[in-house]
């Protein structure tokens, strides 16, 4: 077969790739160089004006970015710890193992927006059952959604509840695929369960853990629905994340050009920071 003919077979896939991946990014970059908004509905060219505005006159975006970093790192760490513990639990031969495996996956299978509405009802400070329950125990009502600090932890609770099962699923799959020999060797050497975990299970699970953490970090860094439904970024701007802020600029205030600038900048930052995080995790967790 002529070598050139091979490329003909690549074209359909290439077109799809260009259509769904490359074109939207190029379009976003072009849009970010325009002043498209409600009163100038056109793809004009304003150079890097939007970028100058972002880097010199938009502290709210950077605040939302650092807030997002805190929320996503905290939630993913908690999800990893809890997910690992749950996976370890049902990895063992315990009663009702299958039942627990299914139960632990339920939160992930629910619709995030619907579940967040339910959580918001739980945490409603005057009408919700959580404060009612605490009141019964003599605890004063907690401002779950209206205290700037506590509201962040409320978002974390909901996110951890919703997405720990995903971490659990990946880690359980990893545990089930581990070779048996190292564990047998450790048992023959009389290693305690703790030493077995530290010196056998955890190192063997490191590559899978890094993958799971990175996947969850990518997802967690896009956190939007939980914030939108639970707090709308409030009180004040206390729980506003980057994606929520970009949504406000783009679809609430209709600053399409500027929202594209924010989106593209955010994309670049995320690619760089996730690459660094992956490298650091590999260095820390995988011993040569």
């Amino acid at each position: 077969m002529n070598f050139k003919h091979k490329f003909v077979f690549l074209f359909p896939g290439l077109f799809v790739l260009i259509g769904i991946l490359i074109f939207p990014i190029i379009f976003t970059i072009r849009l970010s160089l325009s002043g498209w908004n409600s009163y100038t509905p056109e793809m004009n060219f304003i150079g890097i004006t939007n970028y100058i505005r972002l880097f010199t006159d938009d502290p709210r975006f950077w605040e939302s970015f650092f807030r997002l970093s805190f929320l996503s790192v905290t939630t993913v760490i908690l999800q990893y710890i809890i997910g690992f513990a749950l996976a370890m639990m049902v990895w063992r031969e315990i009663k009702f193992k299958r039942f627990f495996r299914v139960i632990f996956l339920v939160p992930m299978m629910t619709t995030p927006v619907i579940m967040t509405v339910i959580w918001r009802t739980f945490f409603h400070e005057s009408l919700g059952p959580v404060n009612d329950l605490l009141g019964g125990l003599g605890v004063k009502p907690i401002l779950w959604l209206s205290d700037p600090v506590i509201a962040k932890f409320t978002v974390i609770i909901v996110e951890v509840w919703q997405w720990t099962p995903f971490m659990f699923l990946l880690l359980l799959a990893g545990l089930l695929s581990l070779p048996k020999e190292p564990f047998l060797a450790a048992a023959i050497d009389g290693a305690s369960p703790f030493r077995k975990f530290v010196y056998v299970t955890f190192p063997l699970m490191a590559p899978i853990s890094i993958g799971a953490i990175i996947i969850r970090l990518i997802e967690a860094s896009k956190i939007m629905d939980t914030v939108f439904v639970l707090t709308s970024g409030g009180p004040g701007t206390a729980t506003e994340t980057s994606s929520f802020y970009i949504y406000i600029k783009g679809l609430r205030e209709f600053q399409m050009g500027y929202a594209a600038t924010l989106s593209f900048t955010y994309l670049v930052i995320m690619i760089i920071s996730l690459t660094i995080i992956a490298k650091v995790l590999t260095k820390l967790m995988i011993k040569e």
């Binding site: 005057s126 401002l143 209206s146 709308s232 009180p235 004040g236 609430r252």
Partner: protein
């Protein structure tokens, strides 16, 4: 002969007298929504619409989610379809997305919807994409009854772009059973040395709300609170802030702008009047129900309408909801104009003018228009005309969750409200409040300029930061004013000035 004449006269009289009732029976049997009035004859009545034939045509509508405006839109769409044979597709969209959902196709030159619902302050951004309301409809009897304020809200430079279906303003709602209770009046006097009465200033409002906060004053076994207010950022809270600011900042001696100085286009929102209002509002976070700082409009309606608070101020919905027969506080509420202030900021002299000042806020309401690119304009306008016909309107305004509020002169008659079960004195206080607002010469109208969303969002974010304790009121409003300057520079001062002048003319009673 005389007997025959008498009989014929009696027969004709009987026909004249009973014919409307016959129509009413005919249509209200089929459409129980209008059972209280039956069909009311008019150009867009049930009878008139039944003569139209839109079979084979489809009308596409984008409206708000259910309830509020989404519910009456869907109901009247169903009725319209039955009467005319048209197919009506109704799409429900959350309030925050109504603007973008219409604006994206508008800007792309498409018309996926024939009719778009939104808020009246969208008018400046939307009008270039909307078909002006045809003369035929503007001159109809039902339109002639719309108050001049609401004709102004629906129009731009004398051209009507939005079909009036709702009339909105903010006013005070209070628990009449508490404020008029002699025992509480005595108790309040002993505790504070002041009279317990309908508050006429925001300071009085705050004092009373603080006193009646956090204890069971209606004996239902639950704690009640001082006030329910829309404090949630991005959920119309800027409108609540403007309501609180009007008394301190709308000075009848200084015409020429409430939000900006029309001459210089300098933002006024960080002047001492607005700062005083925001300081009051920050104090209000202490007397709202737990979590009240996150209350959106729905929460406010539910809270006051459910009997949880002494006061509330916003649109009519909470009041009408409270007055519905199934409400726990039915006929226990009163309406009054927004509180005022004992001083008002004078931006010309840079000092406070002492003396009572009050300014009603004609906050934007639901608005609806027909897309210029729609292929079914006639059917679309017929639908809107039918939506707002006399029979539908009278039924709609009595249902709190519909979000349809008075905007016609006839709505300010006590009988309209007593017919649906309101006590006469409450109905009187309600219509008096609305009428006084219409007659006021010191009104504030919503900001309707290019970039309205950006201005309001900047203000809301700043105010929300102050409410959450992230910034002081002065620092928050300085931040908002700086952002308003930036927006002005982006949009162009002259563009904004030109549009703002239209609203200022209304505020200064020149239109």
């Amino acid at each position: 002969m005389k007997t025959i004449k008498t009989c014929v006269t009696a027969l004709i009289s009987a026909l004249l007298v009973f014919s409307p009732v016959a129509y009413a029976d005919k249509w209200s049997d089929q459409f129980p929504h209008i059972k209280a009035t039956g069909d009311i004859p008019g150009d867009c009545s049930y009878e008139s619409m039944s003569k139209k034939n839109y079979k084979g045509k489809t009308l596409k509508i984008n409206t708000h989610a259910v309830p509020v405006m989404g519910e009456p839109t869907a109901l009247h769409a169903e009725q319209f379809a039955k009467l005319t044979g048209a197919k009506v597709d109704v799409t429900h969209t959350p309030a925050g997305d109504l603007y973008a959902k219409a604006m994206v196709p508008f800007q792309a030159g498409q018309a996926p919807y024939d009719i778009v619902f939104g808020f009246s302050n969208f008018i400046n951004d939307w009008r270039r994409y909307l078909e002006p309301v045809p003369k035929k409809y503007v001159e109809m009897k039902q339109m002639k009854d719309v108050t001049p304020s609401h004709i102004g809200v629906a129009s731009w430079d004398g051209v009507m772009y939005q079909f009036p279906v709702d009339g909105d303003r903010h006013y005070l709602k209070y628990r009449k059973d508490v404020i008029d209770n002699p025992e509480y009046q005595k108790q309040y006097k002993e505790a504070t040395g002041k009279e317990l009465k309908v508050p006429t200033t925001w300071k009085e409002y705050g004092e009373m709300a603080a006193y009646f906060n956090g204890w069971d004053w209606d004996g239902d076994g639950e704690k009640e609170y001082g006030s329910a207010e829309v404090m949630k950022k991005d959920d119309l809270m800027y409108a609540a802030f403007y309501s609180r600011s009007a008394a301190y900042s709308k000075n009848p001696k200084t015409p020429g702008g409430f939000f900006f100085d029309l001459e210089t286009m300098k933002p006024l929102i960080n002047n001492p009047g607005f700062v005083e209002a925001l300081t009051d509002w920050v104090a209000a976070t202490k007397y709202v129900p737990p979590g009240g700082i996150n209350f959106g409009l729905g929460d406010e309606i539910g809270s006051f309408g459910g009997g949880q608070t002494l006061f509330s101020f916003s649109w009519d919905d909470a009041f009408v909801a409270a007055m519905q027969p199934d409400s726990p506080i039915n006929n226990k509420v009163g309406a009054a104009q927004l509180p005022g202030a004992t001083k008002v900021w004078n931006r010309k002299t840079n000092s406070w003018d002492e003396g009572f000042n009050q300014a009603p806020f004609f906050v934007w309401g639901w608005a609806v228009g027909v897309a210029k690119k729609s292929k079914e304009k006639e059917m679309a306008f017929d639908y809107l005309c039918f939506f707002a016909n006399e029979a539908n309107h009278q039924a709609d305004i009595g249902i709190g969750r519909f979000g349809v509020n008075p905007f016609r002169n006839d709505d300010f008659k006590v009988d309209v409200w007593t017919q649906i079960g309101w006590d006469k004195d409450i109905a009187q206080s309600y219509v008096d409040t609305l009428a006084q607002m219409e007659q006021s010469k010191n009104r504030v109208f919503p900001l309707r300029v290019p970039g309205t969303f950006e201005f309001n969002a900047a203000l809301a974010t700043a105010a929300a930061k102050a409410l959450a304790g992230q910034l002081s009121p002065q620092a928050a409003l300085d931040e908002a004013a700086k952002q308003w300057e930036d927006i002005l520079n982006r949009v162009g001062k002259d563009n904004v000035r030109k549009a703002y002048a239209v609203g200022v003319a209304m505020e200064d009673n020149k239109q």
